[in-house]
Symmetry: C2
Subunit: 111 residues, 2 copies
């Protein structure tokens, strides 16, 4: 037995979590929402709607989009987006560490 959990930032709905974090991480690397979505087995339109929804709930832009142009456009994570990612990484590590500790306290390790 072990602890199972999901955690996210909420603002009248999911505003950020592991999935969006992973998507942004790939956008940073690939500089393309299209390729990032593709790597995660998500359609571009779904990824695009997801980003729109998160941006509304967060109240700031996650991606700078360059449409068209000779290089065919591309996306970059905004500085506010990067800031959120680094806060989220540390938040996530603390959550994992503390939840395992609480589980062990009440149910014992490796039960």
């Amino acid at each position: 037995m072990k602890i199972g959990y999901k955690v996210w930032l909420d603002n009248r709905g999911k505003a950020f979590g592991d999935g969006p974090y992973e998507l942004l991480r790939r956008v940073e690397k690939l500089m393309s929402l299209h390729q990032a979505a593709n790597q995660m087995g998500m359609s571009y339109s779904k990824a695009w709607r997801l980003i729109q929804t998160l941006e509304e709930r967060l109240g700031f832009a996650l991606l700078d989009r360059k449409v068209g142009g000779p290089s065919g456009g591309g996306s970059r994570v905004t500085s506010q987006g990067k800031d959120l990612m680094s806060h989220y990484e540390r938040f996530r590590r603390d959550v994992e560490k503390d939840l395992v500790k609480i589980y062990d306290k009440h149910f014992g390790p490796r039960k």
Copy 2:
């Protein structure tokens, strides 16, 4: 913005969580899985299958079932089930307290 989360005990699938806890709490009060399920807007067959699945994953019985008889049967929570419930209550309180604390640490209160 605030933290959103779900937490459960896992043993190759969900073995216990808020829903099952609430169901057992009602069974304890009403001494009937039928009525408990009903109160939660769940069909009896769904509640029954849920309990079966949880018992398999936990490795012990949650309910003592009395089938038929003049009073039409009924269900009671086993002592192992009650023990699990009280551990779970305390576990749950610690989870809530700590997660809010971690959220505030990384994202600030009332942001």
